[in-house]
């Protein structure tokens, strides 16, 4: 199989490409302000747990203030857990943010929102562009939720940012023994993120967390998973899937729905994350699965099993990488440009090139109607 190729590639890349989305402000972006595809992200590191930086625990929700600001925080929580409220508007698949960011974005080592909040705006050397927190969230809407990014100044974006900010600040204030309510900040400050000199912070926190340290809070991202002993293989992953995943995610990986919500979410197919999402990369999915699946019983698969099953679910067709339009529909050119990581986009599996029969992305869905 050509898996050896992947393994080599994986080794070469050192499996460091872990950003959720790989968007680059594309050519077509300009004609639709507000729907610009998010910029390509830097790799999300798994920071050193023993760096001495604070290990924080968000405050209980009962401490969310009864105020207009408190309402934004609660709204952010609601949208994060039940993102299907935005189906058709900003969300194009059956997923909810909480499906991949456990405990409503609070759980350490499951790409928690509080660690993310202090990691933006993130500067990217390559194109001299800075990504705000809002742009990072837009990435997950575009790719993980196969949708359209809500504008940075939309009520939804402000709510999600307020929620992330409150989780982070409450945790940090408790850590540094600062009493009282989390200070309110303006909407403009909320959507940019806390990794900048002029972000309003209590002195104790600003001093303890210099700007260049803020993206390194222990618990950020998913913990890196050691490389598999042998090349990962979708065929072997199929067995792991049948034994450990199928009971919840269904024999066809399409999950199950109750009361209109796929609380057992689809892993591939038209209602899952698209070909541009971080989870389609075998290394990212393997790390996520090893730490979190079966839900509540993480860290029981061997790393090999996690890599194999991550390969299996990601060697299936899913919604198109929305950047394909910028490449005149040429899957191989898009693959060369954006898919230089362990993954199956543009590869032949069971006689078919993945990506060539992809399900519609959000734009395509809307063109059809």
């Amino acid at each position: 199989m050509r898996l050896i190729q992947f393994a080599l590639l994986a080794a070469v890349l050192g499996l460091t490409l872990t950003a959720c989305d790989r968007g680059e402000s594309g050519k077509r972006a300009s004609d639709q302000p507000g729907t610009e595809l998010p910029d390509r992200q830097e790799a999300i590191p798994s920071p050193d747990a023993d760096s001495g930086l604070p290990k924080i625990q968000p405050r209980p929700f009962t401490e969310i203030p009864d105020s207009a600001f408190g309402e934004k925080i609660k709204r952010g929580y609601q949208l994060f857990v039940n993102s299907q409220e935005l189906r058709g508007k900003y969300v194009g698949n059956a997923l909810n943010c909480v499906n991949c960011h456990m405990d409503a974005g609070r759980r350490a080592d499951a790409a928690p929102l509080w660690a993310a909040y202090f990691a933006y705006p993130a500067y990217r050397k390559k194109n001299d562009k800075v990504n705000s927190f809002a742009e990072r969230i837009q990435g997950c809407f575009t790719y993980s939720a196969n949708g359209a990014p809500p504008p940075a100044d939309s009520a939804e974006m402000i709510a999600l940012s307020a929620y992330a900010y409150w989780l982070a600040m409450g945790g940090l204030m408790n850590h540094f023994g600062i009493d009282g309510a989390v200070p309110e900040v303006s909407d403009e400050d909320l959507i940019t993120g806390a990794k900048r000199e002029d972000f309003p912070l209590p002195d104790a926190i600003a001093t303890a967390l210099p700007v260049e340290q803020r993206d390194k809070l222990p618990g950020r991202g998913y913990p890196k998973l050691e490389k598999p002993a042998r090349d990962f293989s979708p065929d072997n992953g199929k067995e792991v899937f049948a034994k450990h995943c199928m009971a919840c995610h269904g024999p066809d990986g399409q999950g199950y729905e109750a009361a209109g919500i796929y609380n057992l979410p689809p892993l591939w197919g038209k209602d899952s994350y698209n070909w541009g999402a971080g989870m389609h990369r075998v290394n990212t999915a393997a790390a996520f699965i090893h730490a979190n699946m079966p839900l509540g019983k993480g860290i029981q698969l061997t790393p090999q099993q996690a890599w194999d099953v991550a390969a299996y679910i990601n060697a299936q067709e899913r919604p198109q990488d929305p950047r394909l339009a910028d490449f005149d529909g040429d899957v191989q050119r898009l693959k060369e440009r954006y898919h230089q990581h362990p993954g199956f986009y543009g590869q032949k599996i069971d006689g078919k090139i993945l990506g060539e029969n992809a399900y519609p992305d959000f734009q395509q869905m809307h063109k059809r109607n």
Partner: protein
Amino acid sequence: MKIPHRMWVLPTLLCVSLLAAVVGFAQSSEQEDGVKPRGEPFKPQRDTTPTPPEPEGDATRNIPGFPKEAEVCAECHDLQGEGRPGLAPRIAGLPVDYFRQQVHGFQAGKRKNTTMHALSEEVTDEVLDKIATYFSSRPLPKITPILRGTQAVISDPVEKLAYQGDWSREIPACVTCHGASGIGVGNIPPLAGQHAVYLKAQLQDWKKGGRTTDQDQVMQKIASQLSDEEIEALANYFNQLGKPGGQ
């Protein structure tokens, strides 16, 4: 008391065990000298199921789709599978695969219940398919499910466990898997409206290691993290959610 003649599937040993249960029901001490079925030591449980009540008459059995093989089950689980608290759980509306797996579980001793163990041994897979299909198709009371994420601030600790879990103990919210308001989904059984005594007994069984039907010990790990008080409260909570018109 009389053992209903319709329980033709019942092996003699079950009749004996039921009799033993009935005779010695109040005095648990008398249960110890039970009969040995099939060479295995007979250990009636303290809470062995009481005598099934008299059936309500043959006419009611003519409900469409009711397989005659299910008659014996209906003695305890009732014709529509509603069950009766303390006698037998509701089996209406269970996912069909889950239903089969549980009967296999009783057969294999992965669930410890003398009555169901004995009964299940008499059920062939072919018959089981029919029975499972029938009971699974029985409707559950309509409720208005509340979705996860509806409310951020939840002060009631039980509702919080159900809707947000407690990840400091690695307990995911119950509704993450069991569906909104615990109405059941895919192959995961409904909790809403199930008898509280039964829900409690199952969580306790997991906690004590008596039930091992769950793949990868998913439920066992959760139950082992719950206190007895939390188990009691969760059982009542989900039972209440299932009351018609409840939410």
